[in-house]
Symmetry: C2
Subunit: 338 residues, 2 copies
């Protein structure tokens, strides 16, 4: 099969590893933002940000070199971040061939004009109903996938046969793929986990510095983890997702707290630094977590208070203050029979 | 109020800290197994296993010194481990005064004669319906509670007024207590998290040694975390718990993977060592995780295969072999509409 990865970020590029292993021919094409990554890959097969060599039946191209050949690939992997999702919609989607299969690693939700939210596969399907748009969720750090660490993910999409075909293409003895048509559930979990991983990391910054193994203040982290899982469950339900998605979301939250870039911002904020200064310290890092918090704050409006940890993150980001973590607002009394 | 803690283990003893802070008078009474801990506390106020001093309006007694005074206390905290739950049932429960309030930190489930399982508060209520039996769940490491780290827990019991009274007694600005009558949900989560924390720790042992911060193989840990949350959700449901309990269970799982003693056994097993040898290496550590895995294996019988991670742990413990982690059995395909 011909696999075309558009977007040479870490996760998109890492998807080449299982595909190559299964004997497919892979092309990694950079977006206009990835020019340097592609130049280096062309020179040395070394991926600058993934920090790994990509070798085998693989070639590297700038976007303009392949843009007319998109319909020829069997599967298009969208490797863009949520900030590139609009570019993919405008630039790539019109070029797709009817019936073509797309698998997106993009993490995010799309704010519709009417104020509601939709997942990226739903958004894209609204643009082209003749394309199979699928997405990846569940716990996976890109460089660990590239290193062939055991990984459990879910592919979601509307067509079971297409999902099973994609599983056949990418599934290896270390990349384990569940398939589901719960696009809303998996993709909401994928988007939210960045926001909540940042929230859990507040406690790491507040109590444990950068090495929780040594200084450990796990109760506080776990208290925020509990509230994160609770709010994720409610929000997945609110956005129409199924109940099985939460386990993938909880695993994804776990891996993002410990292995993701989002953690860095949460740790800095947790140490008592204002958002604007934290942002400066991290200049150059794309902060999808911040984008999703803004989006959820805007979407939820008056209902934001029902999600006190999300509300706290929204306040930190939009007001640039350093309020205490509202521990008592995470109390949830309930009576089964009451 | 007079608070009597029976069982001078780490968690029972740590409960003294918030109670003292709220101005209550606390007595910590050892079980016959705690004689040395109590002797040291009497001498120096230093708790040997908690590794903290306990000071304030607190006294320390051997069990035989207080056994006739049990009815005089306003609240009895059961600080025994699951291995002491039977002792508490036989020795302490008959001495309680009608209407007395008990709060248990014990983690475990009770196998009934008919082969079914019940929670410890349910078991005890079956013995004495005139007593209010309550229990603590949610993420909390004892020594962090003693250090006044922010902690989110749930107290569960059948009577809302009693639960709120208990919250009034123990709730502080760092010990945050939700209350619920979902005893089955909270206590099933409490018992299971030990088993699953050991399971997640397998990946730490297999890939990361003892310091996941340094060597990091988080995808594998997170893959097991995902499956743990999924199986916990199913088992909480199977045992009659409500759906809100899972968030407390997920937080508790998180804290136990990183801060608990259970992790040590999982890491050793994960490195490829047989159970019998691992047990020898850890001689002296009470392994509630092992007990709950045995109990679940026996209870589930033929249905054990529906919980492949629990089944894997059961196999490791009962057959003393080192099978591969069954990653592909954690795939869960589902179709919302199908």
């Amino acid at each position: 099969m011909e696999i075309l990865i558009i977007g040479a970020g870490m996760m998109g590029s890492a998807m080449a590893v299982p595909a190559l292993e299964k004997g497919h021919r892979v092309t990694v094409a950079g977006t206009p933002l990835d020019a340097e990554i592609i130049d280096e890959l062309k020179r040395s097969n070394y991926h600058k940000t993934l920090k790994r060599e990509l070798r085998g039946d693989i070639s590297f191209r700038q976007y303009e070199e392949i843009s007319e050949n998109i319909p020829e690939s069997d599967v298009v992997v969208s490797g863009v971040s949520s900030f590139g999702a609009g570019w993919f919609a405008e630039e790539v989607i019109p070029k797709l061939k009817s019936g073509q299969k797309v698998l997106a690693v993009t993490k995010g939700l799309h704010g519709k004009d009417d104020g509601t939210l939709e997942t990226i596969p739903e958004w894209y399907t609204g643009l082209r109903e003749d394309i199979y748009f699928n997405a990846v969720g569940g716990p996976c750090i890109s460089f660990e996938l590239a290193d062939r660490v055991e990984t459990e993910v879910a592919f979601c999409g509307r067509d079971k046969k297409v999902l099973e075909e994609l599983r056949g293409i990418f599934g290896t003895e270390y990349y384990h793929i569940s398939v589901t048509d719960d696009v809303k559930g998996i993709e909401t979990a994928v988007a939210l986990k960045n926001a909540y991983a940042m929230a859990v990391s507040l406690a790491i910054g507040a109590y444990a510095g950068n090495n929780p193994e040594q200084s450990g203040r796990y109760n506080a982290q776990a208290g925020l983890f509990y509230e994160s899982v609770r709010e994720m469950r409610e929000l997945i339900k609110l956005l129409g997702g199924g109940e099985n998605a939460l386990a993938f979301g909880a695993g994804d939250l776990y891996v993002t707290v410990f292995g993701g870039r989002t953690r860095r911002l949460g740790v800095i904020l947790g140490s008592g630094i204002e958002f604007s200064e934290a942002e400066e310290q991290l200049s150059g890092v794309t902060l999808e977590s911040v984008a999703v918090i803004r989006l959820m704050g805007k979407y939820l409006g008056n209902r934001l208070a029902e999600y006190p940890l999300m509300a706290h993150m929204y306040e930190r980001i939009t007001r640039n203050t350093v309020p205490d973590i509202p521990w008592n607002s995470f109390l949830h009394d309930y009576l089964i029979d009451g």
